[in-house]
């Protein structure tokens, strides 16, 4: 396409590229600083301020945090919560979204209206807490998952995804004598693998990053705290000291700042590892969600 290349237009292009490079740098540099800081000595952190490559890389901070039983256990809880939670959430979301996608189903509009209403009005934090307590879920692993298992947003977007599957496919299968079960299991689900993968990733990232359910419902069960809550406690509350680490008293304890940095890296790496896989899918998911109706 030809464009009117005036001098102002050129100047704007240069400014635009510089501005976006600046924005991307501001986004990325904190991560690199934290990684660099996790390998640095306290003297270097204090003396150099901001740096991206440590002069004398050390790994004590990582050896220190791996001595702890707390962090690997929290990591394990987080992995379990993410795996089980995603499975539970997807089961509930898929099985509910499919019938809701059938406009001819009697009662469907009422159910959909009741579901959408929960986006506009909720009982609030305390009544939800009292419900969770009344159901005996307080201080249990399931409190991390069940009370927030369905995201209404994901449910509605997945419903729209099911609606976009051509009706003729189901009809021709019915003419061949397939029951509703077979249509759902052998036609709809196989056609929806892309959508199912996308929403699984959304749920998985949500669970991995979640911190609020543990804070609200697991106050009395520190053994079940996921990584995010443990991370907060180490970095923001305990001053970079991990209580259960037995460290050789003759050896110098690694500086609290590099321990903090190392713990942050420890919790961030899993997300950065899956990011390339998520990236392929999320744009698609947001696009489906953008279709209003």
């Amino acid at each position: 396409m030809k464009r009117n290349d005036t001098i102002y237009s050129r100047i704007f292009d240069v400014f635009n590229v510089l501005f976006l490079i600046f924005f991307a740098a501001v986004t990325t540099l904190p991560f690199i600083y934290i990684i660099a800081g996790s390998f640095a000595s306290q003297a270097e952190i204090t003396a150099r301020g901001f740096f991206l490559i440590p002069r004398e890389p050390r790994t004590e901070a990582y050896l220190y945090i791996l001595e702890s039983r707390l962090l690997p256990r929290a990591m394990w809880i987080s992995i379990l919560m993410t795996g089980v939670g995603t499975a539970v959430s997807m089961f509930l979301t898929v099985t509910f979204a499919y019938p809701l996608s059938k406009k001819y189903l009697p009662g469907r509009n009422v159910m959909l209206a009741l579901v959408v209403f929960t986006m506009l009005f909720s009982g609030g934090m305390i009544p939800t807490f009292l419900t969770v307590r009344a159901l005996g879920l307080l201080n249990s692993f399931w409190a991390l998952i069940i009370p927030q298992a369905i995201s209404v947003w994901n449910l509605i977007v997945l419903m729209k995804f099911f609606q976009s599957i051509p009706e003729e496919l189901e009809e021709s299968a019915r003419i061949d004598g397939a029951t509703d079960w077979r249509v759902f299991l052998q036609i709809i689900l196989p056609l929806s693998t892309a959508g199912i993968a996308t929403f699984s990733l959304f749920y998985a990232v949500g669970y991995w990053n979640s911190f609020r359910p543990a804070l609200l419902y697991l106050g009395g069960a520190p053994d079940l705290w996921p990584l995010q809550l443990v991370l907060r406690n180490i970095v923001l509350m305990a001053g970079g000291v991990i209580q259960d680490v037995v460290w050789d008293p003759d050896a110098l304890q690694p500086p609290p700042d590099s321990i903090r940095n190392a713990v942050i890296v420890f919790a961030t790496v899993p997300i950065l590892l899956v990011y390339p896989f998520i990236q392929k899918h999320f744009t698609k998911g947001v696009m489906i969600g953008a279709i209003k109706g």
Binding site: F91, L120, L215
Partner: protein
């Protein structure tokens, strides 16, 4: 024929015909009944003097006492001011950020450069608030890099993390840092549907890039901007609990205490269930009124609304 059948007969027929679909509804419906509508019933606790030991059925009813206590109490003004200030700052600064960023990205001509920038600026959306709060702590702490940098000019060190004045700016910057990049996706999608011929016609007519942006690009974003603004309006009393909890401390409490953190502290930690439920009900009702009002307004000015 079927219209004249009694409801129960039609219902029985529907169940027989569509029993598989209804069966599939059961787990999901159960979730909504237990964890979304159950708590709505639990709102009644706000009108009681709820006592854990006596339970819901035996606690005394007190009417609107908790509501009047909240409205007349010392916390009301502080909590409302803090909550509304954060929402206002978000609408003024964080809301336009992805729109502006999307406009800049849209003007890029090099496809590979655009993709690279997008890949980098989407990352923070997937980073938890705990990690963002922790990174903020490291960057802004007394001996951290920002204070070291300011020290080069002979200023500081500033106690950013505990200062009253820094809390709101940090909240806004964190919000933009995490959300602006990913937020561009929806606007870029709206822009990709603009017909290229419109731009070509504008170029033939001698329109500058600025005028193309003003007359073609911006109007293409109008409806999605209105939609997102309606949603934003409905949540002016919902602050980001995770973000606030991680950044608030004794030093900045006077500006960082918002409705949700107060409810958490007094309710879940302090055990004042009835009083804090009343506060939550107030928050939910205002949210509902605002989102409906914003939707009506949008429709009144000729935009398509939410429902």
């Amino acid at each position: 024929m079927s219209k004249t059948q009694p409801l129960s007969a039609r219902f029985a027929r529907a169940i027989r015909r569509y029993w598989v679909l209804y069966l599939l509804c059961v787990p999901g419906a159960l979730f909504f009944i237990l964890f979304r509508y159950g708590p709505m019933w639990g709102i009644l606790v706000a009108f009681q003097d709820y006592n854990i030991w006596r339970g819901f059925w035996d606690s005394d009813w007190v009417g609107f006492a908790h509501f009047t206590r909240f409205f007349n109490g010392p916390n009301f003004r502080v909590l409302m001011t803090n909550t509304l200030m954060l929402s206002l700052l978000n609408i003024v600064f964080a809301f336009p950020a992805p729109i502006i960023l999307a406009l800049f990205l849209n003007e890029l001509r090099l496809a590979w450069f655009k993709r690279t920038i997008q890949t980098l600026i989407y990352v923070p959306h997937f980073i938890s608030w705990v990690i963002i709060g922790s990174m903020t702590f490291m960057l802004l702490s007394h001996g951290g890099p920002i204070n070291a940098f300011l020290g080069n000019f002979g200023v500081g060190p500033f106690p950013f993390l505990t200062s009253v004045g820094a809390f709101r700016p940090i909240m806004v910057v964190q919000g933009i840092w995490r959300g602006a990049g990913f937020g561009t996706i929806i606007f870029l999608a709206a822009l990709s549907s603009v017909d290229m011929e419109q731009y070509e016609a504008a170029i033939v007519d001698g329109a500058s890039r600025w005028r193309q942006c003003w007359h073609i690009t911006l109007p293409a974003l109008r409806s999605v901007v209105v939609l997102l603004l309606i949603l934003q309006m409905g949540s002016v009393l919902d602050t980001n609990f995770d973000q606030v909890v991680l950044l608030s401390n004794a030093g900045n409490r006077s500006v960082s205490d918002v409705i949700e953190t107060f409810v958490f502290r007094e309710g879940i930690i302090g055990g004042n269930f009835s009083f804090t439920t009343a506060i939550g009900v107030f928050q939910s009702i205002i949210g509902l009124i605002l989102v409906v009002a914003a939707d009506r307004t949008a429709k009144a000015v000729g935009q398509s609304g939410l429902f």
